[in-house]
């Protein structure tokens, strides 16, 4: 059953391919605690000592890494859906 048109499914295909690659990589970078991404983790309000600050930072990094992979997974689902729709659209346009 075709829900999306050919253009929308193509758009979904492209953006999910891009999303999977970029978000998976970003997840890796968060996991290894890249300094460049230090600004892009949830803000740390209160901390008692330096070690507490570091552990909170590490937590934030890991949480974000997992979030990135979740989003990448969601894009994987989107990609599967769009690919299916794209295939349906292509097939129906061929049969006509």
């Amino acid at each position: 059953m075709a829900i999306c048109g050919p253009k929308l499914s193509l758009c979904g295909l492209i953006i999910s391919a891009w999303g999977i690659i970029q978000l998976a990589l970003m997840g890796v970078f968060y996991w290894i605690e890249a300094v460049a991404l230090a600004e892009d983790i949830p803000e740390i309000g209160e901390y008692h000592s330096l070690s507490d600050f570091y552990s909170k930072m590490t937590n934030g990094y890991q949480q974000n890494a997992i979030n990135c992979w979740i989003a990448a997974l969601l894009y994987l689902i989107t990609m599967a859906l769009s690919a299916h729709q794209f295939w349906l659209n292509n097939r129906s346009s061929l049969s006509v």
Binding site: G19, V35, A36, E39, L74, Y75
Partner: protein, 863 residues
């Protein structure tokens, strides 16, 4: 194969073709597509040319084909496009083609006419059917449904009598004691367009003073109008009236409203019978209509198989006769004479094509191809392939290069994407662009076969190699700038370390930390490739980047301009124009090098000599004492001393700087009068010498006139090529005053231009800064919002926000910024680069080629 550095060498040729062989030869040349014919009878009216008749026949055939195509499209039959390219048929085949098309067209027209007549018939019958059905309802209503067998007239009379008898309810048959003829009301029934009903009703009421009785009912299903094929809605009406006068009036009104009237019998039995008859006739008509449609379909399907092929054939014939119309007829009418521009390197191919044409036509006399000398400038023809044609188009849209001028295209293949990439430096955006370009390049053949008529897509597709290169180069500069979607990657390990930072200090600073290379933070050796990633997080990032990128863009700009001037040297060498080399090229190089390239050298000296230090003993080479390049340069031109701090000891970068600067400036200054005056003075002197020589020669000539007649003849022929050779300058007939003015403008343009153009290259820095900032802002304002959502919901938020960020990145950063960077690059090439050497005063070579003709014809059709 011709080279891309210059346009191909062309020659004017005269072509003698035997009348019988002309058609086949021209057809072969059209397949080859390397010959541009000149119109040899421009003063002859189009209608008075030799092959007007044939062209007309072709036009007629094309018209028939277009009619066929329209019919095929109307039926939605797919047209077979095998992409094959049939050869132009022989002239005798033209008659066959004509006959075929004539037959097809007639057949189709006949079928269409029949179908229309049948449809009209069908419409009438359907309308009649509807009338019979609807009127039945009227009758039934009037009889109250009690007596369905009674005729409606009776019922009406009934009503009348009811009215007269006022009250006494009488159902069924009235007493038969009066003559029915006396009260017998007439009626007409018909069909009218539904939207006309209200006007029709009012008109009837007014014209007949309310003495008619109108009933109407809508026909639910739309009916097809046979002449237009539209679906129209109609209504059935029935009008009752008494007397002949009213009858004529009613009929007139019906006529006026384009209503169609149908006979409707009064008796229900008659009606039923008629309805039965109509039904059977409709059935018959339907079968006949179906057969007609089938026949039409068969004819069209058969035609659809060949129509593309026929189009190609007819267009080729037409093009050939058009070309033959350009030729001159020999006095004896035995041969045709043509003049054409031909690339010298392809003469062999053309000879071969002509021979093939002769063989095909079975003629015994071979065609003669004769090279001619001409003072005219030949057209510019560059051999391009699919890779270089897009780059060539960039310059062709600026101005077609003059004949045999240096063609900037080969260099542009590198400089264009490179200058673009300086402005578009981001690894991520470059990768997106490169992927798009690579996809178009890899899928080249299927995409080209699709022949989309989307203009924007065609522009992108035409420039696919440019886009691919721009993307790849942007990836490189993105690595140099260390920008991946505005984030830096730390591949080799930063050259900065954290030292002397206390917790208190870190907590006290609110924004980023300032990087000072003079402190221990810097490990004293630089990041191996590109920009250190630590700059992304520093406070003085923009200050550092601006100084770096500004210098970079000036360095690249001046090298680019010097390269342009260098090309002008090769151009002048090619045209043997030593005057231009001495009077323009040399002072131009001196001016640009001594002033602007010197500034570039100062930049390098500054980079090598000065370094950040806080040592008091080395303060002379510290940042504090490093002179500003811009101030130094301005003071060099203004001939002033640069002020300096006492501890720095000097404002110079090296010993003897002031003396050298003075020399450079005055040398450059002297170039201005050199450029301005030298060339006109030299031309003036040469002219005077020539005039003197001529008078001397004339005296000599008159002295020997009766002696040798061949001497002047020989002289004349030897002089003409000299004149044409010097065509690069083209100053031969200009008066001196114009030469002075021309040179003045040229000099001012160059001198002021080199200043403003140098500044113009700063756009490289400005756009690169804008791009980097914009992508950073987009990350901060959009993607950052998704990344800083706490907890597991962050994953879903990121999923949505990434899509938004992605589409914004594509639309704003890649498309819009890419377009603006592209336009600025184009400008840098057209204005700053081309103004140094490119005259662009040529005209394009437009060969007679079937390929081009068919392409333009199919495009014109789609529009």
């Amino acid at each position: 194969m011709g080279s891309l550095f210059r346009s191909a060498e062309m020659t004017l040729c005269q072509l003698f073709l035997q009348s019988e062989a002309a058609y086949a030869c021209v057809s072969e040349l059209g397949e080859l597509g390397l010959v541009q014919f000149r119109d040899l009878n421009p003063d002859v009216n189009v209608f008075q040319r030799k092959f007007v008749n044939e062209v007309r026949r072709c036009d007629e055939m094309e018209r028939k084909l277009r009619y066929l195509e329209k019919e095929i499209k109307k039926d939605g039959i797919p047209m077979l496009d095998t992409g094959e390219n049939p050869e132009a048929p022989q002239p005798r085949e033209m008659i066959d083609l004509e006959a075929t098309f004539e037959k097809l067209e007639n057949e189709l027209r006949e079928v269409n006419q029949n179908a229309e007549a049948l449809k009209r018939n069908f419409l009438e019958l359907t309308e009649l059917k509807q009338i019979l059905r609807k009127t039945q309802v009227f009758f039934d209503e009037h009889e109250g449904g009690t007596n369905p067998t009674e005729s409606m007239t009776r019922a009406l009379i009934n009503e009348d009598s009811i009215a007269r008898q006022s009250g006494s309810v009488q159902l069924g048959f009235p007493e038969k004691n009066y003559d029915p003829e006396e009260y017998y009301p007439c009626f007409v029934a018909g069909v009218i367009l539904r939207e006309r009903i209200p006007a029709f009703e009012r008109m009837l009421w007014r014209a007949c003073r309310g003495n008619v009785f109108l009933r109407q009912a809508e026909i639910e299903t739309p009916l097809e109008d046979p002449s237009t094929g539209d679906q129209v809605y109609k209504s059935v009406f029935i009008i009752f009236f008494q007397g002949d006068q009213l009858k004529t009036r009613v009929k007139k009104i019906c006529e006026g409203f384009r209503a169609t009237l149908y006979p409707c019998p009064e008796a229900p039995a008659d009606r039923r019978e008629m309805a039965m008859g109509v039904m059977t006739r409709i059935e018959d008509l339907n079968t006949v209509l179906g057969q007609t449609q089938d026949h039409r379909h068969r004819v069209l399907v058969a035609a659809a198989k060949n129509i593309k092929n026929w189009f190609v054939k007819v267009r080729k014939i037409k093009a050939i006769y058009h070309t033959l119309n350009l030729f001159n007829l020999d006095v004896t009418q035995k041969c045709l004479i043509a003049e054409c521009w031909v690339p010298v390197l392809d003469l062999e191919n053309i000879q071969l094509a002509l021979r093939r044409g002769t063989e095909r036509s079975g003629s015994s006399v071979p065609p003669i191809l004769n090279r001619m000398d001409t003072p005219e400038d030949p057209p510019t023809y560059n051999h391009t392939n699919k890779f270089t044609s897009a780059f060539q188009a960039l310059y062709d849209s600026y101005g077609i290069a003059s004949y045999r001028e240096m063609n900037p295209t080969p260099y542009t293949i590198i400089t264009f994407p490179f200058l673009f990439a300086i402005m578009f430096g981001d690894f991520g955006h470059g990768a997106l662009m490169a992927v798009f370009g690579a996809w178009m390049v890899l899928k080249e053949k299927p995409l080209a076969a699709k022949k989309s008529d989307n203009e924007i897509w065609n522009i992108f597709f035409g420039g696919r190699y440019i886009i691919l290169l721009m993307g790849l180069f942007s990836m490189y500069t993105g690595l140099i700038y260390n920008d991946v979607f505005s984030k830096s990657v730390n591949i080799f390990g930063s050259s900065w370390k954290v030292s002397n930072l206390t917790l208190k200090y870190v907590e006290s600073i609110t924004t980023d930390h300032m990087l000072d290379p003079a402190t221990d933070d810097y490990v004293q050796y630089s990041y191996p490739f590109g920009l250190d990633p630590v700059w992304q997080l520093s406070k003085n990032k923009i200050i550092f980047l601006n100084s770096f990128k500004m210098k970079l863009s000036i360095i690249i700009g001046i090298i680019h301009m010097l390269f342009g001037v260098a090309i002008s040297y090769f151009k002048n060498v090619n045209f043997n124009n030593h005057l231009n080399i001495i009077c323009e090229f040399i002072p131009q190089v001196i001016f640009l090098t001594f002033l602007f390239f010197y500034m570039v050298l100062l930049m390098f000296i500054k980079w090598f000599m000065y370094y950040p230090t806080n040592e008091p003993t080395e303060i002379v080479y510290g940042t504090r004492c490093a002179p500003s390049i811009l101030i130094t340069f301005i003071n060099m031109v203004l001939n002033k001393r640069t002020p300096y701090e006492p501890i720095c000891e000097t404002s110079n970068m090296y010993a003897g700087q002031e003396g050298i600067q003075k020399f450079l400036f005055f040398a450059a200054f002297l170039c201005v009068p050199w450029m301005l005056l030298a060339k006109p003075i030299m031309i003036n002197r040469a002219r005077k010498a020539a005039a003197l020589h001529n008078t001397n020669h004339n005296q000599l000539h008159s002295a020997t006139e009766n002696g040798d007649a061949e001497q002047p003849m020989h002289n004349n022929t030897s002089q003409t090529p000299v004149v044409t050779q010097g065509g690069g300058g083209g100053h031969d007939e200009e008066p001196m005053s114009e030469i002075y003015i021309h040179q003045g403008i040229h000099t001012i343009e160059y001198v002021l231009g080199s200043i403003s153009h140098t500044a113009s290259y700063l756009r490289l820095w400005a756009l690169s800064l804008a791009h980097a900032q914009l992508s950073e802002v987009l990350w901060q304002m959009v993607l950052n919002k998704g990344l800083t959502v706490e907890g597991w919901a962050g994953g879903v938020a990121l999923y949505i926000i990434f899509a938004i960020w992605g589409s914004l990145t594509i639309s704003i950063l890649v498309l819009m910024e890419g377009l603006s960077a592209f336009l600025h690059t184009l400008r840098l090439h057209w204005v700053e680069f081309c103004s140094k050497f490119y005259s662009g005063a040529g005209y394009a070579f437009q060969p007679f080629s079937f390929e081009i003709i068919l392409e333009s014809a199919s495009q014109a059709k789609e529009e």
